[in-house]
């Protein structure tokens, strides 16, 4: 298999290209996505390749963007819509939460929404509280949405392809802090499966579950913990809805300890959901309390010194797990 080094941002463009080449009904719209190639340069070259009919620059009108995507999806297209920063979902949440998520159910299945909404999620770039949020839990709380957040270039392509081909609306959270990260990516078409978590590392003492930018940190923490005599497995959740509870429950049952690592603020995150599922469904396999390692329940500060203290670091993950395993 021929492999190439690709950045996460290049993977986004490749994923979109792959799907637009395959299906002429796939169209793409958003602010500055065409002529400018995206503010994160993740969609460079698409306008040139697919033309202004399929790659459309929009005004600053997030509601109109998502409404257009919704109406197009229910009439035969398969739109990809970009909401530049995930924080901006707050100006168009009605379309996501009240319209796109609910209309298939409300109409008893008369309409469906094969669309993908991709967005730059997460912090670490010193953009401050209104441009750094991890809002995947906003989406997870709404029935009717699929929710995906890849941690590496290959997953970007495979999960994105799965999202575009999926007949339901998929919220695709790209992590802004990962755009410049690199990974080996195979040549040719890549298609993955929604709802499948990936076990990145096995270890008999504890299970760490992480998402997106927290995945590399969880892996680094597990390596450090191994140095200190604690063997921790790491699971990349990848998809919050559908959620691969089987893989997670199996791994946690085996180790008896669960640690979630979340970038989102503490309350009501996916970690709480996971801990609750585990506490209810494999209570008797737990050897100790499940722990959530999260950003504290505060807005994200802008200064680099402060932001680094807020978001879970490798060091914090190691410290918390080590302390918990010892007590």
């Amino acid at each position: 298999m021929v492999m190439a080094q690709l950045t996460y941002r290049e993977a986004v463009a490749r994923a979109i290209t792959q799907e637009m080449e395959r299906d002429p009904n796939v169209v793409f719209l958003g602010e500055d996505v065409g002529g400018a190639g995206g503010v994160f340069k993740a969609t460079v070259g698409l306008l040139e390749r697919f033309g202004p009919k399929r790659v459309r620059d929009t005004p600053i009108s997030e509601q109109a963007i998502l409404g257009a995507a919704m109406g197009a999806a229910m009439t035969g297209l398969r739109p990809i819509a970009e909401i530049m920063f995930a924080d901006f979902f707050a100006v168009c949440w009605d379309l996501v939460a009240n319209q796109i998520a609910k209309s298939s159910y409300m109409t008893a299945g008369q309409v469906s929404f094969p669309l993908v909404i991709r967005s730059g999620n997460g912090g670490g770039l010193r953009f401050g509280a209104q441009h750094s949020q991890s809002v995947e839990n906003w989406a997870m709380a709404i029935p009717g949405l699929k929710v995906v957040a890849p941690s590496n270039p290959t997953d970007v392509i495979g999960l994105f392809a799965a999202a575009v081909r999926d007949p339901d609306p998929v919220m695709f959270f790209e992590h802004k802090g990962l755009y410049s990260s690199k990974g080996e990516v195979a040549d040719g078409e890549i298609v993955d499966t929604l709802g499948s978590a990936k076990v990145l590392r096995t270890g008999g003492d504890a299970t760490i579950v992480a998402l997106a930018a927290m995945v590399p940190r969880a892996v680094a923490a597990a390596e450090e913990l191994a140095q200190r005599g604690i063997e921790a497995g790491v699971i990349d959740v990848r998809s919050l809805v559908p959620l691969d509870t089987q893989t997670i429950l199996r791994e946690v049952s085996a180790t008896g300890r669960l640690f979630t690592v979340e970038e989102n603020p503490r309350l009501c995150g996916w970690g709480a959901e996971l801990v609750s599922i585990v506490a209810e469904e494999c209570f008797n396999y737990l050897d100790g309390p499940p722990f959530r390692i999260t950003t504290p329940h505060i807005p994200l500060p802008s200064a680099d010194a402060l932001e680094d203290m807020a978001i879970p670091s490798v060091e914090r993950i190691v410290t918390i797990i080590e302390r918990a395993m010892q007590s």
Binding site: R56, G67, A68, N98, M106, G109, Q110, D168, V241
Partner: protein, 352 residues
């Protein structure tokens, strides 16, 4: 447009300078007029029955009737082509019926029965019938204007001669989604028609008390480079011809239209609202300007026989009775309906 001097519609709607009204070119032939009359009568009788059933506590949640506003729905129902798309609001019974949806399906939905067009899952505010081009009724003010953009875009993208029509109220012109929709539609020259049914009230508050301009839609058309169109929404012919104009414009690549149709709802905003916040004189003036009464007079003046018109009324009565019987006889939906259709494969599960 056909209006003789003894036509009561010549005066125009109460309180409106007739000189400001859009007077579309063309005439409406008798078969179309009979169809328009039939549509309006069906709507009127359906809504009246829905009100009765609400008072009997058979319509359980809420319902928003369009009594008095029938000319608008009827006109677009007749003017639209089969392949066109309707986007309605919670006040969408008439717009749904106008496209040919079964009355039993609509009535059943209001009653929360399994014969409902949505199996009782959506209710009165979310009527949808894709098989007749009714792409949904939306209960969050303004949202569907953005969604209509997408249906229009999709038609434009494929080069199909379809038009999306979005109906909404005067109050809706003050929400952000209105603005975003109008601008994008104009910039992309989308085949979409925005129809503001100005019934002078946003729920209970008079629209003039909360709006910076006198005509909430027409006075804003220029902000999107569009023509200002204020039309008599109680004159079915004027509405029909205006509808045709805008649909033709959209279909021929001329882009969007924004139509403000002046009308009045003769009942309350929703449910059992008696509408007491409205001045008696205003209510009376508009009652005297009822679109169905006006139209019947006009048709009779044009030589249509009273008997033919009565027959139309009777057919409608029969349809409404049948729908009522059917809906009442239909069982409520069951547990299998509850957990269905979150996803397009019919399922609901969020986990493995």
């Amino acid at each position: 447009m056909t209006s003789t001097t003894d036509d009561p519609a010549t005066a125009g709607p109460p309180g409106i300078d007739p000189g400001t009204l859009h007077r579309p070119d063309g005439t409406v032939d008798i078969p179309t007029q009979l169809a328009l009359y039939g549509q309006m009568v069906r709507m009127r009788k359906f809504e009246t029955r829905a009100y009765d059933l609400f008072m009997e506590n058979l319509v359980k949640g809420t319902s928003h009737l369009s009594l008095g506003q029938e000319a608008i729905a009827a006109a677009f129902g007749e003017a639209m082509e089969e392949q066109d798309y309707t986007f309605a609001t919670y006040r969408g019974h008439a717009h749904t019926l106008a496209r040919g949806t079964s009355m039993t399906g609509v009535m059943g939905e209001l009653l929360g029965r399994s014969c409902g067009v949505l199996s009782g899952k959506g209710g009165s505010m979310h009527l949808t019938d894709v098989s007749h081009g009714v792409m949904g009724s939306y209960a969050i003010v303004g949202a569907h204007l953005t969604i209509a953009l997408g249906a229009a875009w999709s038609a434009q993208y494929r080069g199909e001669p379809r038009v999306a029509v979005a109906f909404f109220g005067d109050g809706t012109t003050n929400i952000g989604a209105f603005h975003e929709s109008l601008n994008l539609a104009a910039v992309w020259k989308l085949p979409v028609v925005f129809v503001c049914e100005n019934n002078m009230y946003m729920e209970y508050t008079p629209i003039r008390a909360v709006t910076a301009v006198a005509n909430p839609a027409a006075d804003r058309a220029s902000a999107y480079g569009l023509e200002s169109i204020l039309v008599d929404g109680n004159d079915a012919d004027a509405m029909y011809l205006t509808a045709r104009e805008s649909l033709d414009r959209a279909r021929s690549g001329g882009g969007p239209s924004l139509i403000e149709a002046r009308t009045y709802r003769s009942s309350g905003h929703s449910r059992a609202d008696p509408g007491k916040y409205r001045p008696d004189a205003e209510v009376a003036a508009w009652k005297a300007y009822d679109p169905i009464v006006l139209y019947r007079t006009r048709l009779v003046t044009r030589g249509v026989s009273e008997a033919d018109l009565d027959a139309i009324e009777e057919t409608a009565d029969g349809d409404v009775d049948t729908a009522t019987v059917n809906a009442k006889a239909s069982p409520p939906p069951g547990a299998e309906d509850l957990m269905r259709n979150v996803w397009s494969d019919g399922g609901w599960s969020w986990r493995n």
